[in-house]
Symmetry: D2
Subunit: 383 residues, 4 copies
């Protein structure tokens, strides 16, 4: 493939997200071979040299680093991909941008709006390509929802509702902080379910239904103290275990969002539904190859929610995969986002959501947390 243009990737972080991104880079040449730009796995960085070497072997990275600053400064890296905990996103992204690298970062963009603002400023000032891995947009059923909405089939929108329900932190014996559990420590994560889960719901929502203007929220921390892995001591839990908010969208529709890690029986139940004048759509991550669609223009006696198995060649992204009826999985959302990122280099368009677009999600998260803290409605400033 000598005519292909190489994009030399430097990945930072070898955890769960490091794996999903590495898999994505490995799959793009197999499933999107026609694209002009293709990734080369140049380097991966993590603090533990043993771990990072094993990771490089497993995923095919050419070299390793244990100091992200060295990776960011290497001449043979075109794009820096940030898969580290949220508290490091800003510093790394800003340094990468200043070094003239393309910057990809895991969501959420940052821990808070101040960090996020600096990140947006940095990539815009440097003029470098940037994107945030809000991966669920690229599941075929979700992209199909976007196509249906953009086609105008729903008409005026009345309602948008989404939730992201998990149950993995119900046990009081689960510690917080440190390896594998930094998401339960606000110092590292910024917030709890709001930044981790609702951020996904919000990103999809504003993509599908436009801006949110104001929010009214409630948060709860059910278990007040947990042992902290780094200190070994029982410490106050500083994250939100659950967050619920309702809101107005700019288009006049009402929004309703809920996220929790205390919904017994749900593992990663991200669902959304959008009700329009003429049609409605709903989706569920536990059955990710399916989109449900109700069209009021169907003959009256024969109207019903259609269960669309989004696995045909004319469904988004599915011409790259198998044959009708044969589903894909979670990881494919990352493969599609990676492919779209490289495609955007070819077309010269931004790869949505950019840092700037993801900033809006950050604003909403911040307003949600503020609303919950102040028990009042909070408005979202327009960017």
């Amino acid at each position: 493939m000598s005519e292909k243009k190489e994009v030399r990737i430097g990945l930072i972080g070898c955890g769960f997200m490091g794996r999903t991104h590495s898999n994505a880079y490995n799959r793009v040449p197999n499933f999107f071979p026609e694209q002009e730009y293709q990734p080369v796995l140049k380097a991966v960085c993590a603090r533990s040299e043993d771990k990072v070497r094993a990771f490089a072997d497993q995923w095919g990275y050419e070299s390793v680093e244990t100091d992200w600053k060295k990776l960011v400064s290497r001449d043979d890296i075109d794009a820096v991909d940030i898969c580290t905990p949220n508290d490091t996103h800003a510093e790394i992204a800003i340094a990468a941008a200043q070094a003239g690298k393309m910057v990809l970062t895991e969501k959420p963009l940052a821990r808070n709006i101040e960090e996020a603002k600096q990140m947006v400023d940095a990539v815009e000032k440097a003029g470098v390509k940037n994107t945030v891995w809000y991966n669920y947009r690229r599941l075929p059923a979700v992209t199909l929802a976007k196509q249906i909405i953009d086609s105008g089939k729903l008409g005026k929108i009345f309602h948008y509702r989404a939730n992201f329900l998990q149950d993995w932190t119900i046990s009081a014996d689960l510690p917080q902080g440190g390896e594998g559990l930094w998401r339960l420590d606000a110092a590292a994560a910024g917030s709890g379910v709001t930044g981790d889960l609702l951020a996904h719901c919000i990103d999809t929502a504003i993509w599908l239904n436009g801006s949110i203007t104001d929010v009214s929220a409630m948060t709860e921390t059910f278990i007040k103290e947990r042992v902290h892995q780094l200190t070994g001591k029982m410490q106050k839990v500083t994250i939100d275990d659950a967050c619920i908010f309702h809101c107005h969208f700019k288009n006049g529709s009402l929004g309703l969002f809920e996220s929790t890690r205390y919904a017994r029986g749900h593992k990663a139940l991200y669902t959304f539904e959008i009700n329009g004048e003429h049609a409605s759509i709903r989706w569920d991550l536990h059955d990710l190859n399916r989109l449900e669609y109700f069209d009021h223009s169907d003959e009256s006696k024969l109207r019903g929610w259609r269960s669309i198995h989004v696995t045909d060649g004319d469904h988004p992204y599915m011409d790259k995969w198998w044959v009708p009826g044969l589903g894909i999985g979670y990881e494919h959302s990352f493969i599609h986002q990676a492919a779209d990122f490289f495609k955007s280099l070819e077309t010269g368009t931004p790869c949505s959501p950019t840092f700037k677009e993801a900033f809006e999600t950050q604003q909403i998260c911040e307003a949600v947390l503020k609303s919950a803290a102040t028990k009042s409605w909070c408005e979202i400033e327009s960017v």
Copy 2:
């Protein structure tokens, strides 16, 4: 309602089916008050005087009998409704026809084809109104299926499949025969699941998809001996516990039917599916207010099985009940059949399935049992 014409009912049998029919007669005046003919609960008959009196009190019958022959000969009875075990259908129905009464009988028509033939002859010779209670036709979702098929939306039919799965006889400790368990005794029932359950599937099938021409079947009796309630002794089980057959329909489609009382986890899972060139339909008794419908003429990317909640005013029978979204139950199938029977007196048309129409189902059951016994294909003679 003095202008209404009364149809004086004499019901024989106070068991499960006696209850469903009595309820149906009680509901017709409430929900079909506009019909010209209305039932009057004149008499009910059962061998135990205590039981039949209690039953009459409960359901509002004016009088009781303990000898069905007396009931059949009463001048103040217009219609005899037979809810007794299968081994009595023929004798009672023939006597009732000879007495000039309208005759309604629970399904299956009879234990076997000889009895059935005599019954058809009797009602035809007497020229009396007659019908068999294959009640599932009158569930709104099933009637809607009929309307869709009749509209031609399915095009050429390729496949019809149905099953009726139960699990209530798995325990070897369950006795056979006698009170409440005559369905497990071939002497009383004629056959096992074939006459009890598959007969329903076959009745619906030939109504929806036309005649069956030949069958290839297999039956099984999993538990070979059970205590008989009437003798108190361990006796050979003579019914079929399970029956599977495939067949050809006259229209060229293939049929597949299965019934069993050994399908752990299923209570009364009657389902059918019909696949046509342009569209398909499926239905499930455990979710009886719903019909699933797939229409290939829907826009390619948006095709999916539609889940139709058959509870709107323009759905069959549903203008008689509540408002959209509010479902009805099993018993309503009997209410609808009763209403249709009385309506048929007004219109002068037969109330399907008549004895003659139900005879075809009996023929198919007989062919199925013969095919299983002989391990060969059996043809259905045309009536």
Copy 3:
């Protein structure tokens, strides 16, 4: 049944609810014949003499009235059942109580908290039996949910969510007010979806999960003006088309409620879910014979939401009906409530929800509407 005690019913209102209650009274003797107290349909009242006579004929009422005051004052009436629009509940109920009658009223108790308070005072002062027809409690699946919760299987509760979604008022051409449409006129109804739909959700919620302490709500009226049927003029719409609120329960769990008549594709989608430490439950009115249940104590690899078809003899109320697998419908919730009401006469216990218990739902509705109007959290005073 001469040994039975008769409860002479006087029903006021011949609309949709008049039909559901009349059906319930007719079914009780058939399906609950063993109960000591049985209804007698003594009189029905509506303003139109023609209509009320036809209704009496259809449902078997012995006499008619066109003035509710006359009905309430009749000596041969034991219980007054109010099925008229909400704006008449208070006046009739208070008069009935003062006349020493038992009082049953359709939900919501009243248009507002002031009326509701007077009604509670009236029945308590008069010491008469009273109940409000929050019928959904008596669907077997919902009662089973109550039994499971009361058994302690869920443990500490974290979340309760419910919604009631409809789509029948989306068209701007639909008028408001008057015959069949009084629910769209706040003068008659008190409020829109809050009193009509959310009241159901709240009644079930507090029954299952205890008191609500404070709420934060949002309402919307999507179509601002509609022709009023009584005036023929375009008038401001005064009801809430949609209402969303989140709240705290006294037991520390978070609540989330939504109702709308603008959710395209949903007819009467009342659903609720409750998440506890050890188990969760969910239910859906569109599939009313089913309860979903997740039990974390199931073996790890085999855990999953159980789809319980609530049609067995050991399920609540189901020993009165058919056999396993054969579902019942919407109307049965009223039959069960009627039977429970008559049973409560036998046992001398209140028939829940009493006016006093339903007052709590009224308080919450009022707080919800106030919260939405003031854009602030509102507390519920304890009764």
Copy 4:
């Protein structure tokens, strides 16, 4: 990974199956890095040099061949993987075995039993590792079904039913034979849905439920003539478009199988259900991460089919992938089979199904076709 042992793969065929296998080989090092044996993509072979070079580039094969005999004779190939149409399986597999290579072949093993027998003999005589890609066994939900059955939870088995329904050949305009359509030409495929689809159902069935002893079948070719792509002429269609059979298993249970390409609305609806004395299981390829399980030992009132989302770390294969709730796809079945194949080199055990095991499926397919042709029951000889 210098300590790893390399298995040098030579793949023959660049079609749909060539892609699924190539993807599997590429993923094993990423997701099963701990395994001792790892694939090396040494060579790929196809008749068109252009195509095979592009394929090699896309998937990372080191070299290409256009003559499979050359590939089979190369010293630097350890394992030959056959992804060509069925009519070539026997010749290639036998040659590969004779050359001492490990042999992997796509299913079905061969076009007919004679070819299959020779293939079994060849690999057994040569003593080479061999396996057939009946991939569905390795979907986590299907493997979980196997584990549940092996644990004895189902008890005595009564019923096994499976179907594989598609709708892609309904149009009479679809040609047969040649590129992409060899499955519709019996000369290339051996049979129609029997070898293509039912073979999958049979492989799973005998793995889960043991041997089948006799079958009674029916086949149909709905469209009798189609244009053949290779001749350009309208020719007789020689495959079975649909096949239905019932059978006995050695363990006394009854089997029911159906496959068709004329079931409008179904893309690749492979489903199976197994009913035992104590528990039942069902699965559906359209929702492949889920297994439904009914356990009669659950508390009576709370029994229901459990919907198990098979995505936890303790579910088969799932510790290799993501976190609970995040599903995988169709392609993963091949990755798992590849990993299991390499693992079997480490453990020295056969990789099921071996050619010999797959021969039983071939026997059943042959008996099914013979039964349909002769309209009689056919027995399966024990191997």
